[in-house]
């Protein structure tokens, strides 16, 4: 009990409260800014917080971490632009909901499941951080490879209209991910003598281009002055009892997936959101609504990407290994404060662990409050005349992208991706698989080759975790294809050629 009291006491300090609020403000603001990620905000803030007391500093950094995780959902839902990569999966159902005039409902539902996801994962952190963190150590290259292959099967689910176009788009994403230096030998691939290409295409610039800019260009393309848009503040805010019940299953699923993926080092909210969305779709009674404005899809995506926060924190504090890029910065700051994250943090300094958990939980609850209060204003932004809205989205995307590297090259990549994204959108190639390929391709290749370097090919099937995940991936790959072929055969006349059935998909 003493530990609990000692751990909670620092939170009563008014300066800590000020730090909490400052962190929340910065977090939600930058999270909502496309391109500016939580890790970037935490890194910039870390320059200031070094001079503070550790608890004050942690209050700032952790609340930015939490706040950004709420802020990034807003542009995803309202303008199809993920505020940070963790909100990629949010766009899949959040934006369609907004287009149907349900932006308010989507934002409220998203805030609640985000809160729930963080709280569940924080409960895991408090109750079982040390034993569970050991799980992370079992994730070597073979297991990571299997997890990533499993993640790649999501490509099939997010190819909403044509599996063939979806998979081609995915291969395109995997292909552009190979640009740059080879992860194992360091040889140049597709660099063509351009120095900037040595580190590959900047991921954040590509997603902002493919999602946000492409959607903006599409609106410019189809805009008709006399047609009113259904996106507006009009619409119901509060979910009905039925909708709440509907979200229960994806929420439970998302919490588990998010926490586990969060614990795995180097896998964060972006991957977790997509896997959570995919699993929920496969288990749903209405999978056909996913991607077209399903509350279940939104709930699964946001729960699982948010539940990575507690998982990451677990790995970081209990092992001293950063669970994601924000936590890498956090470890740097903690070490300067003289705090060494690792197993002994829990035995030597349990009060601090309680304080950290308390900060996270308080920040989560405050974030929920703030996001509910300011939601109306946020949706109002969409009522702005379109000349403000369009110009605003464009300049925010440009500046946000620029600040990731302070280099114009990154912004050019964003603009190019926007044009490419528009072409893909008009020809029915989905952007989701490209991003998935870009995200997972380097992990897949590098971990496969690491495995081969260390143990040779047998490790993939002899390691139990890896073997199970690979089998799951195979099943995941086969079932939707079989189901679609069967469904389209049933729907169409028996004389249809099977090739067309496979290609057309529904």
């Amino acid at each position: 009990m003493n530990v609990l009291v000692d751990g909670l006491a620092p939170l009563l300090d008014p300066t800590v409260l000020v730090c909490l609020l400052a962190g929340l403000l910065v977090g939600t603001l930058v999270g909502a800014f496309p391109g500016v990620t939580g890790s970037m905000a935490v890194a910039l803030a870390a320059g200031f917080t070094l001079t503070l007391e550790p608890v004050q500093g942690l209050a700032v950094l952790l609340t930015i971490y939490v706040g950004a995780n709420y802020g990034d959902r807003i542009p995803s839902i309202l303008v199809n632009t993920p505020g940070t990569p963790a909100a990629i999966a949010t766009t899949l159902d959040g934006y369609p909901l907004a287009k149907q005039g349900k932006a308010g409902l989507a934002l409220v539902a998203s805030s609640f499941v985000t809160t729930g996801g963080i709280l569940v994962s924080m409960a895991v952190f408090l109750l079982a951080a040390r034993p569970i963190a050991q799980l992370a150590l079992n994730f070597g290259p073979a297991e990571m490879f299997a997890l990533v292959v499993f993640g790649l099967t999501v490509m099939i689910s997010i190819s909403s209209r044509s599996i063939l176009k979806g998979v081609i788009a995915g291969i395109g994403g995997l292909a552009i991910a190979t640009v740059g230096r080879d992860p194992v030998t360091g040889d140049e691939r597709f660099v063509f003598g351009v120095n900037d290409l040595n580190s590959g295409l900047p991921f954040i610039a590509v997603i902002i281009g493919l999602f946000g800019i492409a959607e903006l260009f599409d609106q410019l393309l189809v805009h008709r002055a006399h047609v009113l848009r259904p996106i507006s503040s009009l619409g119901r805010w509060w979910p009905t009892r039925g909708e709440l019940a509907q979200m229960r299953k994806p929420f439970a699923l998302g919490s588990v997936i998010g926490t586990v993926v969060g614990i795995v080092p180097a896998a964060g909210g972006d991957i977790a959101g997509l896997i959570g969305w995919d699993r929920a779709k496969r288990m749903s009674k209405e999978p056909e609504k996913f991607g077209k404005g399903s509350l279940e899809g939104l709930a699964a995506a946001d729960t699982s990407s948010s539940a990575t926060l507690g998982g990451s924190l677990t790995t970081t504090m209990a092992l001293g290994i950063p669970g994601d890029s924000v936590m890498a910065v956090m470890i740097g700051s903690m070490v300067i404060w003289g705090l060494q994250p690792g197993p002994s943090l829990f035995s030597n300094d349990p009060e601090l662990v309680v304080t950290i958990a308390a900060i996270m939980i308080v920040a989560t609850v405050l974030s929920l409050g703030i996001s509910l209060v300011r939601m109306r204003g946020m949706v109002r932004l969409l009522d702005l005349p379109h000349h403000f809205l369009w110009a605003g989205i464009l300049i925010f995307c440009v500046v946000g992208t620029y600040t990731t590297t302070n280099s114009m090259y990154t912004v050019w990549v964003m603009l190019g991706s926007g044009v490419l994204g528009l072409a893909m959108k008009r020809t029915g190639f989905p952007a989701g698989p490209v991003v998935l390929g870009l995200l997972l391709g380097p992990l897949a290749e590098a971990n496969l080759r690491r495995t081969l370097l260390i143990d040779g090919p047998t490790a993939l099937v002899t390691q139990p975790i890896s073997a199970v995940l690979l089998v799951l991936a195979l099943v995941g790959l086969a079932t939707p294809i079989v189901a679609r072929v069967r469904a389209s055969r049933r729907a169409e006349a028996p004389s249809e050629r099977p090739r067309a059935a496979a290609g057309r998909s529904r």
Binding site: L221, P230, G503
Partner: protein
Amino acid sequence: MNEARHSQATPSRTDGVAPALGSSDEAAVPAAPTSRPLEITSALGALVFLGALAFLARRIELRAETGGVDPRWWPELLGTVGLVLAVALLVVSVVRPASRDDLEASTRAGFVRVGITVALTAAYLVAWPLVGFLAATPVFLLALTAVFGGRGWQVLLGFPALTTGFIYLLFHTLLEVPL
């Protein structure tokens, strides 16, 4: 394919709160027409891209030839699989071009608008390093607002100034990111 249209239309009707807006645009917005040439062009585009990938992957220079799973292996695999799928897509696009009923039809004015926007953005990206953020941004925003239909001096001057100021304060002053 009708299914897609239904599931989009139904919820906004049953929503109940915004019936007027939710339903008014259904008839007014024509869907993009199915286009065989467009499908074939896009399939050819995919074919060229993936063909180039397969070709260039073989020509990656290595400092040490190890054979087996080397830096060429993964791009070659992607290129080969992709090429097969692209050929399949080409066949599909000729035999049965996919419907585009989930997209709204584009307008001629829309193409012009996209073209001007891309050109303006490109000009802005060139101008920014030359004249600085504070000089280039208001002009860019003014031009964009005008192209998108904003009129009146408050709109054309006030909005660019306010937005530029907000971004500058947030990044340059608060976060210390040099713009």
